[in-house]
């Protein structure tokens, strides 16, 4: 283990914790934050995180949240049932769950869930991710979504953060999703924040379980605004014939770290992780994936793209593990970074660990700027260079969005991406 960094800055969080949570915070202090020499944190430094005095996010009034919620719904869809977490806490007044179809329950993380979760967290002890331990110790609340076997549901899960104070504020939430046998869930998840003067660390942990032949399309819209640190850890557990399609859209946020892991534990499962990051200024987006092919005949895909302006940076580290038994695995991995400025940086680190012999694993990664040939072709037909660049950037982004099944939602996303790109170009 590489030397880890001190976590003294998180001590104030302990003042309100007791029992298992206090125990977990102790475990976190013992683990420490990953230090600069940790391979997985090579490009994303937590040093500054360690230097703050973190306070737990308090409750927020719902008045300030309605505007944020309206923005979230504008994009994700106004007709969808929605479950709102404000500063981590379930908000029945803001949520709209009456229209959920039969066979789907969604609500606050219940005490029973919490107990089970904490017990599991303690049991796994020092093996778990330090940021997961921190989250388990300090989470303010969360949500549970369950879709019964055979049922179909669509839901918008909204995380809102509203903080008017000036303290360094730590917000932690957890989400648990269970999709029953043959069931289908379309989950859109938004994160929006309004914290003009506070420094924010937001941590989100999600566990998603897919039973046999179930499906989950999961779209995360990260609009973290001025949030300094956002980290998400999600784990997908899949049984046979299930299919997970995840897409993460990183629209802003100063430093974002997204970790996704999947365990394909029965044959015929398919998991897809995609991501699109639009970065400017000194924004930083770091995506890590772990795709665990544990059994034969599963497939997985990964498509990670970022557009980088100014001095922004993106990191993609994609790990594929094909265990000895996992014959006939088909795993594809692709990452592309489009650099719009000479000072932007992108790093890609594919890691393939293959112990079976009859498998198909491919990976590709490119980092480059807009192609002069394409620009010239467009210009030679009368399109000016600013517009030509915009067209090419939008096209680059559209390739990630094109897999979305809901075309009007896709068009809203494309429009938003287009608007964001116009600002990026200045």
């Amino acid at each position: 283990m590489s030397p880890s960094m001190k976590t003294d800055g998180f001590k104030p969080l302990g003042e309100t914790l007791s029992g298992e949570r206090a125990q977990l915070l102790q475990a976190f202090h013992k683990q420490g934050l990953p230090g600069p020499r940790s391979e997985n944190w090579k490009y994303t430094r937590l040093k500054e995180l360690a230097e703050r005095e973190w306070r737990a996010a308090g409750k927020a009034g719902i008045d300030g949240a309605t505007e944020l919620l309206a923005q979230a719904e504008e994009l994700a869809g106004k007709d969808l049932p929605c479950l709102v977490l404000l500063n981590g806490r379930f908000q029945p007044e803001l949520s709209r769950l009456g229209t959920l179809p039969a066979g789907c329950e969604a609500g606050a993380l219940e005490p029973a869930d919490e107990t089970a979760l904490l017990a599991a967290a303690i049991q796994r002890g020092g093996e778990r991710h330090p940021l997961d331990t921190l989250n388990a110790a300090a989470f303010q609340g969360g949500a549970v979504i369950r879709v019964q076997p055979g049922a179909q549901a669509a839901l918008h899960l909204v995380h809102l953060l509203s903080e008017s104070g000036e303290d360094a504020t730590c917000l932690q939430s957890r989400v648990r999703v269970e999709v029953g046998e043959g069931a289908k869930l379309e989950l859109r998840e938004s994160f929006l924040a309004d914290a003009p003067s506070a420094e924010i660390l937001a941590g989100q942990v999600a566990e998603i379980r897919l039973a046999r032949d179930s499906r989950c399309e999961h779209i995360r819209l990260q609009r973290a605004g001025s949030v300094e640190w956002l980290y998400t850890l999600q784990h997908i557990d899949q049984l046979s014939g299930s299919r997970y399609d995840g897409l993460t859209l990183g629209l802003d946020g100063q430093l974002v770290r997204n970790e996704s892991s999947a365990c394909l534990r029965e044959s015929g499962a398919h998991c897809d992780f995609s991501s699109l990051g639009l970065l400017d200024d000194v924004r930083h987006m770091d995506s890590h994936t772990w795709m665990d092919h544990a059994v034969p005949s599963c497939t997985s895909g990964q498509n990670f793209r970022s557009v980088l302006a100014d001095r922004s940076r993106s990191v993609y580290s994609g790990h594929i593990l094909v265990r000895q038994d996992a014959q006939l695995t088909d795993a594809v991995q692709d990452s592309k970074a489009l650099l719009l400025s000479a000072e932007a940086r992108a790093n890609a680190r594919p890691q393939l660990e293959i112990y079976a012999d009859d498998v198909k694993c491919t990976h590709g990664s490119t980092v480059g700027s807009l192609e002069e040939e394409q620009l010239f072709y467009l210009r030679s037909r009368g399109i000016d260079s600013v517009r030509a660049r915009q067209l090419l950037v939008r096209a680059f982004c559209a390739e990630v969005l094109e897999s979305l099944s809901d075309s009007s939602f896709r068009e809203r996303l494309e429009t938003l991406v287009g608007e964001r790109m116009e600002n990026i170009h200045g």
Binding site: E372, E373, Q374, F376, Y377, L378, R379, S380, R381, G382, I383, D384, S385, R387, A388, L391, L392, R394, A395, F396, C397, A398, E399
Partner: protein
């Protein structure tokens, strides 16, 4: 229409175009032939405004304007069109959407109203039918995954929609089957008009049977080494380029 005088151009310090004089009048079709690497595409690209090539000497007048002063997109809006020897694939941009944006840029520049999506679709569908192209190419991403012939026909479609005043076709006939060649030639002939000119770069006399040129020029090592009427193409087909090059020496 266009008047090229003593044009020199180089790339990465190497001179490729080494003194070209050429005038094309309104309504004329000029063919440019010449061996591989003689500078035909370079000339076409310099005229279209590709920045990689540096013009070191000479001038080009296009419809009374100093062409070399204009940005590539302004040249297009003023009525210049280049059909690329190797049309560029642009994934993620739809062929129709792109073409509508381009047409409206040109129309706006010329003080005309922009076409809305419906009017445009009608226009472009008509052109597709006239060119015997498959309509699904319109919905596809620009040139992406098009066959060689489809790419060339798509260039002709763009030309037909944008209605340039001067069209430069860089080996648009290469790689076409006989029917496609016919279609391309018909596309060009349909556009032929008193106030529209063409520069057709080709290796084959065959195209020139369909599109009969007013003048034929032979380019060799960055210079026009011989010019003549349409018979010159026939003569070249018979005797090869060695013949003009030898005569030159």
């Amino acid at each position: 229409m266009i008047k090229i005088s003593d044009l020199h151009a180089s790339i990465e310090g190497r001179e490729i175009i080494r003194g070209i004089d050429l005038e094309v009048r309104p309504g004329e079709v000029h063919a440019i032939m010449g061996p591989n690497g003689s500078g035909k595409s370079t000339l076409a690209n310099v005229l279209a405004g590709r920045e990689a090539y540096e013009v070191t000497q000479g001038s080009v007048e296009f419809l009374g304007k100093d062409l070399l002063e204009l940005e590539p997109e302004v040249r297009a809006r003023e009525g210049l069109f280049l059909a690329f020897q190797y049309p560029v694939e642009i994934p993620g941009v739809s062929n129709t959407y792109f073409l509508r944006v381009a047409l409206n840029e040109i129309r706006r520049h010329q003080g005309l109203d922009e076409l809305d999506a419906l009017d445009f679709l009608e226009l472009v569908r008509t052109k597709v039918r006239e060119l015997h192209m498959r309509e699904d190419l319109l919905e596809r991403q620009l040139n992406t995954g098009f066959s060689g012939g489809e790419k060339k026909k798509n260039e002709i479609l763009h030309m037909a929609v944008l209605e340039p005043k001067l069209a430069i076709l860089d080996e648009t006939d290469s790689g076409l089957d006989i029917d496609a060649l016919r279609i391309v030639a018909d596309g060009v002939n349909a556009l032929r008009a008193e106030n529209r000119s063409f520069i057709v770069v080709t290796h084959y006399q065959r195209l020139l049977e369909y599109i009969v040129p007013d003048r034929v020029h032979v380019l060799s090592e960055g210079r026009i080494v011989r010019s003549g009427g349409s018979d010159l193409a026939l003569e070249l087909e018979e005797k090869g380029y060695g013949w003009v090059q030898e005569e030159q020496a």
